[in-house]
């Protein structure tokens, strides 16, 4: 099928809207009672999360099983089984949703498929044991709208994730997909499109927060026969999966946005630089590009406008520094991903020396909806200087791990305690890390600051690409800083001295501290050296790499001091500072610990209390994990 005019596109939307009508209705309605096919419901839909997280928990087998059961009963034409993108509630995955009653099943296994089909779809009785139980009230909640996890969220960039079939272009068009492109290239001047994006206040979601409209303006002004649009999908922040979920759940939005960007800056060539570790996202994106070409929404003379645009995929190969745009460009050219000085900015001289506009996946995902709903609508969400919403990958010691999207200005407290459901196991909150290896740790006293670009920066952290890791009292902040430094040292490209050598020295100092050999002088070294690296490194990676150290030094100085002065790690994470001991009054002498000790450090006769020889002990904790009598403690 080829879409030749905007009228064709409208016809496709009308036809496909019928399919989505059921989903949209049940999404809006409140309190629809479940009634199965037996009770006269004519058509039902089963949405199954096909994101990487749920697939790892076998969601594709659930899908196969449900299809098979429906087919055996001759119900395939009455029930659509649709694999969607990520619903976000990864903690409770795999997630299955039944339409029209909007029932949200959690932690489903392939064995549950039978009950879902026979009980719910046919019989109209909800499968109670698969419903989400609100931990506060102990009541089960069947509609996701009423869950704390979803109540405070606002889905803009994720608007189609978990709602449409990402491999079906018609479903995307039914959600007004490709209309932003069509109206832009047929009815608006490139400068008007850029002005609309600028007025929306959208800022780059990859971490830098540079105004997108302004960036597009620079690329438009550069004069050249060839220009490039690049989508940065090299999501390298460990523990973050926002971009991947968007590409898996709504790949057409990226294709459409890149084409709009191409039209605006005067480019006909798009490149997606994507992590090779994301096979599913690559597959979905390729499918979307293929469909768009087939439908005439990519390629020559799109919708008869005279504008041509096509997209190619380039693979990353696992280098965090390639998130930096100049490094990314070198990598696309088949070279080592080393950054270069700016200026010249990519907007003047980028890929193959031509003007290049690089935006991140989430930034692009916002573009179509800004153009269809208008800059004013987008600018009405968020805070004065940070407009719209932000997607976060909420993870760590939190009850509801998952992918969330909140309006800018939401507080960390709302995110952690309401959406995130608080700290796992009732432990005490200690810190939240935003911005990944470039960001910092925020504490209890920062919980009420609004999340936006400037507030987080002012507190010594940063928005970053959207990783948000929650830590509890069992996490040692020195070890956490060390963890991030270890990452940066490994990922440093080695081009500039401050990053290559400075970070190495920082890491060695942290090793000394966590190894029980630190002094108070070392704390000064960390602080001074950290600031020097920040001021002198070449690229964004180096300039931000000391942030985890500096922010933990700032907010958890006591803990650092304890490590160097008292040789204590209050979170009991730094092995060298621990001593394992056996309480003789609890030890029954079962010998299990000694049998499992890999270092032969436990001695004692059977049925008599054992003791640990501290000189042999390698502090692996195996004895403590094995002891059935809680006789072993660590201090």
């Amino acid at each position: 099928m080829k879409v030749l005019t905007i009228e064709d596109l409208k016809a496709v939307r009308t036809a496909a809207a019928k399919k989505l009508f059921l989903r949209e209705q049940s999404d809006k309605s409140t309190g629809v009672h479940s009634s199965g096919l037996d009770a006269g419901t004519s058509h039902m839909q089963v949405l199954i999360c096909g994101g990487t997280g749920c697939k790892a928990s076998l969601s594709h087998l659930i899908c196969d099983k449900i299809k098979e059961l429906l087919q055996d009963r001759g119900l395939s034409d009455k029930v659509d089984v649709i694999t969607t993108g990520c619903f976000g509630f990864c903690e409770k995955g795999p997630v299955v949703k039944i339409i029209p009653d909007n029932t949200f099943y959690t932690q489903v296994t392939p064995d549950d498929a039978h009950d879902i089909v026979c009980e719910h779809i046919i019989g109209g009785r909800r499968v109670e044991r698969l419903l989400y139980v609100d931990p506060k009230t102990g009541q089960s909640v069947s509609d996701s709208k009423h869950m704390d996890f979803y109540r405070k969220q606002k889905r803009v960039a994720l608007r189609n994730c978990g709602f449409i079939d990402p491999e079906n272009i018609e479903e995307y068009i039914a959600r007004d997909g490709y209309f932003a492109l069509a109206t832009s290239i047929l009815q608006r001047k490139p400068d008007d499109v850029i002005e609309e994006v600028r007025r929306s206040g959208l800022r780059g979601r990859g971490g830098g927060g540079f105004p997108t409209g302004v960036k597009w303006g620079f690329a438009r002004k550069s004069v050249s026969d060839v220009k490039y649009v690049v989508c940065n999908a090299d999501e390298g922040d460990p523990g973050a999966f926002m971009d991947r979920s968007i590409m898996e759940g709504d790949p057409h939005s990226i294709v459409e946005a890149m084409a709009i960007c191409g039209y605006s800056i005067g480019s006909s060539k798009g490149l997606v630089y994507i992590r090779a570790e994301y096979p599913l996202a690559i597959h979905r994106l390729k499918t979307a590009i293929g469909q768009a070409r087939e439908w005439g929404l990519l390629g020559d003379n799109i919708l008869g406008s005279g504008f041509s645009f096509d997209i190619e995929i380039r693979y990353g190969a696992g280098a965090f520094v390639c998130g930096e745009e100049t490094a990314l460009i070198h990598s696309m050219e088949g070279k080592r991903g080393e950054p270069t000085m700016k200026p010249p900015f990519p907007a003047e001289s980028g890929y193959l020396g031509k003007p290049t506009n690089v935006n991140n996946v989430e930034t692009f995902a916002n573009i179509p909806v800004i153009l269809t709903r208008g800059a004013d609508w987008f600018a009405s969400i968020g805070t004065e200087k940070s407009k719209g919403t932000k997607v976060f990958a909420l993870a760590g010691k939190i009850n509801n791990v998952g992918l969330i999207e909140v309006p800018m200005g939401t507080t960390l407290r709302e995110v952690i305690y309401e959406i995130g459901g608080g700290i796992k196991g009732g432990k005490k909150f200690k810190a939240v890390q935003t911005g990944g290896p470039s960001g910092g740790c925020l504490t209890e006293k920062h919980l009420d600051i609004p999340i936006d670009f400037d507030s987080l920066l002012a507190e010594g952290s940063m928005m970053g690409s959207g990783g948000m890791i929650v830590m509890d009292e069992d996490d040692c902040m020195v070890s956490v800083a060390r963890f991030y430094l270890d990452f940066t040292v490994e990922e440093s490209c080695g081009k500039c001295t401050p990053c290559r050598i400075g970070n190495k020295r920082l890491l060695e100092t942290l090793d000394k501290i966590t190894g029980g050999r630190g002094t108070e002088e070392d704390l000064k070294t960390l602080s001074v050296l950290g600031k020097v690296i920040k001021d002198t490194a070449l690229c964004g990676l180096g300039q931000t790499s000391p942030n985890p150290v500096l922010s933990t030094l700032n907010n958890f100085y006591d803990e650092y001091l304890e490590h160097v002065r008292d040789h204590k790690c209050r979170a009991r994470q730094c092995k060298a500072l621990l001593t394992y001991s056996i309480n003789p009054s609890l030890c029954i002498g079962c010998h299990l610990c000694a049998k499992n000790c890999p270092a032969d450090a436990i001695i004692g006769d059977v049925r008599k209390p054992h003791i640990i020889n501290p000189n042999n002990c390698i502090r692996c904790g195996m004895c403590m994990a094995r002891c059935k009598f809680k006789a072993i403690s660590v201090n």
């Binding site: 999966f241 991903g337 990452f487």
Partner: protein, 158 residues
């Protein structure tokens, strides 16, 4: 680098890959991705061959191979084990898991057991943070693991 010959069929495949990319040095990373599929790693002779085909110094190929984490110059084991070291997995104890794998297998990160069965690596986030800590063995994801599970899993595979 010692000059060892690649098997004929491997050399043919690598040549075909280069040709499909127009012998263009700008395509080096894409070429290496595909070439790594042929044997599971990029031995020195293969890098030399690619350099000759693309008319670039072998140092440039080697420079790229060693720069990116995805490329490897050692053969992986029959069961490649990757422990996720993303932050979400780290705070839920992946470091202890890694230690246990190292201890039980007697190899370090980036190494393969002498019998060629297991190789050990770290990776950064597979995106299954809800299942943290996560280990990938081949294409299979193992979630919510504890160090005490390590021995059992390895025995099951063996």
């Amino acid at each position: 680098m010692p000059d060892t010959k690649l098997p004929c069929d491997v050399a043919e495949k690598v040549n075909a890959i280069c040709q499909a990319h127009g012998d263009n040095p700008g395509e080096l990373i894409n070429i290496l991705h595909e070439a790594q599929h042929v044997m599971g790693y990029l031995p020195e002779e293969m890098q030399r061959m690619i350099a000759r085909r693309l008319s670039i110094p072998v140092s440039r190929v080697y420079g790229v191979v060693t720069f990116y984490a995805f490329f490897t110059m050692t053969a992986k084991g029959k069961y490649p084990i990757s422990v996720c070291m993303g932050t979400a997995c780290y705070v839920r104890g992946s470091e202890k898991l890694l230690e246990e794998f190292k201890r039980v297998l007697g190899i370090d990160v980036g190494e393969t057991t002498p019998d060629g069965k297991f190789s050990l690596d770290c990776l950064r986030c597979v995106g299954a943070c809800g299942l943290a800590p996560v280990v990938m063995i081949g294409d299979k994801v193992y979630g919510r693991l504890q160090p005490v599970d390590v021995k059992r899993i390895l025995e099951e595979l063996d």
